[in-house]
């Protein structure tokens, strides 16, 4: 299932500024503890890893577990050092990876 993701990265920033980055993914985050109407356990299906790289350097690295909400939303700050690419990657329990890339121009 191709996931929908949304990220917010400022298009431009001044060198040295802390810029806010927001990232959200559409995902049910089924925690594997619930049962369906027949009493069968609904298998766990969550995003278990989130990574953000700034020009290749890992700036945020998360291991997610069952307590993370559906449609997980993350906001964090990075220091604007250089123009370039900010890459996001979400990995689910099946190993499928959803990627998104944004660009930032630092002056």
């Amino acid at each position: 299932m191709a996931m929908k993701v949304m990220v917010s990265v400022p298009a431009t920033a001044r060198k040295g500024d802390a810029v806010e980055i927001k990232a959200m993914a559409m995902h049910p985050m089924e925690n594997g503890l619930r049962r369906d109407n027949d009493g069968k356990v609904i298998p766990r299906f969550i995003l278990r890893k989130f990574e953000c790289r700034y020009n290749g350097e890992l700036v945020v690295d998360c291991d997610w577990h069952t307590a993370i909400s559906a449609n997980p939303y993350l906001s964090f700050f990075v220091k604007a050092v250089d123009s370039g690419k900010i890459e996001f990657a979400w990995t689910d329990d099946n190993g499928a990876v959803e990627r998104h890339t944004a660009t930032i121009a630092v002056t």
């Binding site: 929908k4 949304m6 990220v7 959200m24 993914a25 985050m29 909400s69 559906a70 449609n71 939303y73």
Partner: protein, 247 residues
């Protein structure tokens, strides 16, 4: 005499309530929910809108048609007003959801998505989102609106409560931990925290019916569409908020 006066006063109360300008459910929401809705990158409903925008262009019909092949850009739908009557069968009421399903079946030759499917919810959210910030558009139809108002004032369920008793007479008061809203519909399809997803107005109606221990009507039923019509009229002046965030 005093009893008669009190009775007259009671009878006058709903009329007074109707004179107040309508207030969106946003006004009754907690600050956290309001902040979520205000920021498009924190509002999870925008994920459904994004998906709906993609579906608009996705070929699915016979001959590879999509919504866009006939209707062009989705932005052109900012001014549409639903519910309305089926032009070919004026006794039948249609809302945006059932209209899209019919269009897929009749004009595109594509299978309908199913009323509460993720696709249909996303597509309706994307279409309604085009009108965000504009006043809710209502088609004037006295009969349909009267039928909807009848549903709104009909006591139902084991608790024997009508919509109006909570959402008109007691709006703004507390029901356990939650503030009762006026039951306005300008934010739908809306992201509901409890659903962890975006849902249609009729799904919300069903939840309300179940809460008073009444058998809900089916999604997309004529009764719910009439109610949807009346509620749109009742909330005249409110701005479309789709996708709203609600508790």
């Amino acid at each position: 005499m005093r009893r008669v006066l009190a009775l007259l006063l009671l009878l006058a109360l709903p009329a007074l309530a109707a004179d107040r300008p309508p207030r969106s459910g946003l006004d009754y929401a907690t600050p956290g929910v309001r902040a979520m809705q205000a920021d498009d990158f924190a509002n999870p409903g925008m994920l459904w809108v994004q998906e709906g925008l993609a579906l608009w262009d996705r070929p699915g019909g016979m001959g590879g048609t999509s919504c866009a092949s006939c209707h062009g850009r989705i932005e052109g739908f900012a001014g549409i007003a639903y519910p309305r009557r089926d032009p070919r069968d004026p006794d039948k009421l249609m809302n945006l959801e059932t209209r899209i399903e019919k269009c897929r079946l009749d004009n595109m030759g594509a299978p309908p998505y199913g009323y509460e499917s993720r696709e249909l919810v996303a597509l309706t959210a994307a279409v309604r989102h085009q009108a965000r910030g504009r006043p809710v558009a209502v088609v004037e139809d006295a009969d349909a609106i009267a039928a909807g108002e009848k549903e709104f004032r009909q006591r139902r369920g084991a608790l024997d409560l009508a919509c109006a008793q909570c959402h008109e007479a007691n709006a703004g008061k507390k029901l356990r931990d939650e503030t009762i809203s006026e039951g306005q519909t300008n934010g739908f399809p809306a992201y509901r925290l409890r659903w962890q997803g975006v849902g249609s107005l009729h799904r919300r109606f069903q939840v309300c019916n179940q809460a008073v221990a009444a058998e809900p009507y089916p999604l997309g039923s004529q009764e719910y569409i009439a109610l949807e019509w009346y509620l749109a009229k009742r909330g005249a002046g409110l701005l479309v908020e789709t996708p709203a965030v609600r508790q």
